[in-house]
Symmetry: C2
Subunit: 324 residues, 2 copies
């Protein structure tokens, strides 16, 4: 006896929510794909009759996974309460509920415990946040964190199909980015606030503080879009409370849940190699010269998978107790 | 009455040495292009009879600008002493002499004074170093520097024509990079040493220490190649000795030599916009939340111009007293 699962959205993340549910053998008797308009779609060889996303479509649904259309008129704000009212547990990939103190913001490898207190809605973090916290959490546990400085190398699929079309020079990509993205690097994702941070950087700061349970940790991100299709990379520098030898750091990363790490100094991940992979990859690990509490590394994950769909499905798995 | 100038190399940097000498009206009666093989080349509409780079070709040369073929068998190691013996002053873009205590390593906006002690050979820094030190130097002067953390976004033309061919998928690009560069980000430039740093990162550390005259300054770089043709970008985080308000930092950047900076928080440079421009561009300047001595910014320059040819020609200009 399995569950009835609704997937809300049929874009890049919506498609991957369906394919991850299937690939990970989530115990679903029915996957119901909901979107703005009814149509027929094929996902990984399986056909789905897309139904219109409206309140009644959530009747009988156990888990409703929202792909992440945000804002007042987005699916999550409009329909998540309706889904909860009908008995569903909502897992939302969008940003609407992430900082709501009533809503757990969860990366299962890091803070699965937070799921205990959910009130029907659970949020999955922004893709750049998820990539960051998976290696940060074991460092925080083992050594304590004093400060995090991170520069991102973010893929266009983080902006949905429009981002991919912008990279490919297709008409659907017009206006998605403030400047040409092909052959360029754009150090502004979202918009710049009065505090000087972009909305994307603000998400990385506020969401990581909540997930790690470290509200006072200084996190200083610079978020940059680069001409990569899929796979967010991050150059991370961390200062730890307790001194950490290189051996100790390599040991922590080798045993950290969700991390793929070989420990070989010449072995490093790239976005092109992590596309389609569910894990978070780490490489270029070093303890900075003369500073035993200063650690640098490079990490990469597929922004549509661990950065979105895989994390959401992992949350659902944790809730049904099948696995993390 | 002008000078006889030799340009050694006819690759991407060699071409730009010639075009920068012309564009900046360097007082040259003759520009003699030397390379491995004799041939005829056209640079910006002007034809040059390329002569073979050998000792005798430096007879009568006042300034010899080497494009930067490095190593024991490279032009600089083989021929720079021959040029000096014939009375020329050598300005080398390669890495062979940069850390030699007898050789000034110069970015004219930063340490033109170092030229006073030259003994015939002067070195121009690595492209990623030059981009970094132009904004760092005024911060060092005004506030003092405690620590620099920098992540680079480097263009393929930094690897010469082979890098451009690798990005374009042409046969000449095979083997230039350890992994596919098109649609990817490669966090390894050069090779990784036993200390965990790449040769490129080592250059940024050692060269910036020499240029800034701060041998003990902790500089922690992560150097990354991205699919951009030309223009190196850097995400820089700096901790200063004295507290710095945002207004004070904006003021320093607005008045710094060689920097192009509008001060508008929504105005930021990208590599595509700086191609062909001789300056160093800065944007996304902010003082980190709660940390008045922590400053972040984004800087970009054309790696073939300010990162190589323009800087070398500026050194020559300083020597002849024409301008910086």
């Amino acid at each position: 006896m399995g569950y009835t699962v609704a997937v809300v959205g049929a874009g890049l993340v919506g498609e991957r929510l369906v394919s991850e549910l299937r690939r990970r053998d989530f115990p679903a008797d029915e996957i119901r794909v909901l979107a703005r308009t009814a149509r027929r779609v094929e996902i990984q060889g399986e056909e789905f009759d897309v139904r219109v996303a409206e309140a009644s479509a959530f009747e009988g649904v156990d888990y409703a996974l929202f792909a992440g259309t945000e804002g007042e008129k987005g699916a999550a704000m409009q329909l998540a309460p309706e889904a909860v009212a009908r008995g569903a547990v909502v897992i939302d990939n969008g940003s609407d509920f992430r900082l709501d103190p009533e809503v757990p913001l969860v990366v299962p490898e890091v803070n699965a415990d937070a799921l205990r207190d959910h009130k029907g809605i659970i949020a999955s973090p922004n893709c750049s946040t998820t990539t960051m916290v998976v290696p940060l959490a074991p460092l925080a546990r083992e050594f304590g964190l004093e400060k995090v400085i991170v520069s991102t190398y973010q893929a266009v699929s983080g902006s949905g199909r429009g981002g991919v079309e912008a990279l490919e020079g297709l008409p659907g990509g017009e206006g998605v980015y403030p400047k040409e993205i092909s052959g360029n690097a754009i150090p502004l994702i979202g918009s710049v606030g009065d505090d000087g941070y972009t909305t994307e950087e603000r998400k990385m700061k506020d969401e990581s503080a909540k997930i790690l349970g470290l509200p006072d940790l200084p996190v200083y991100p610079t978020t940059v879009r680069i001409p990569v299709h899929t796979g967010h990379s991050e150059s991370v520098y961390v200062e730890t409370t307790r001194e950490a030898s290189l051996e100790a750091v390599l040991d922590v990363f080798s045993n950290a849940p969700g991390l793929v790490f070989s420990g070989d100094k010449d072995d490093y991940p790239t976005p092109l190699e992590t596309v389609g992979e569910p894990g978070t990859y780490v490489g270029r690990v070093r303890v900075e010269e003369g500073s035993p509490g200063a650690i640098s590394y490079w990490c990469v994950s597929d922004n549509l998978l661990k950065g979105a769909a895989t994390n959401a499905v992992q949350i659902a798995e944790t809730l049904v107790g099948s696995r993390v």
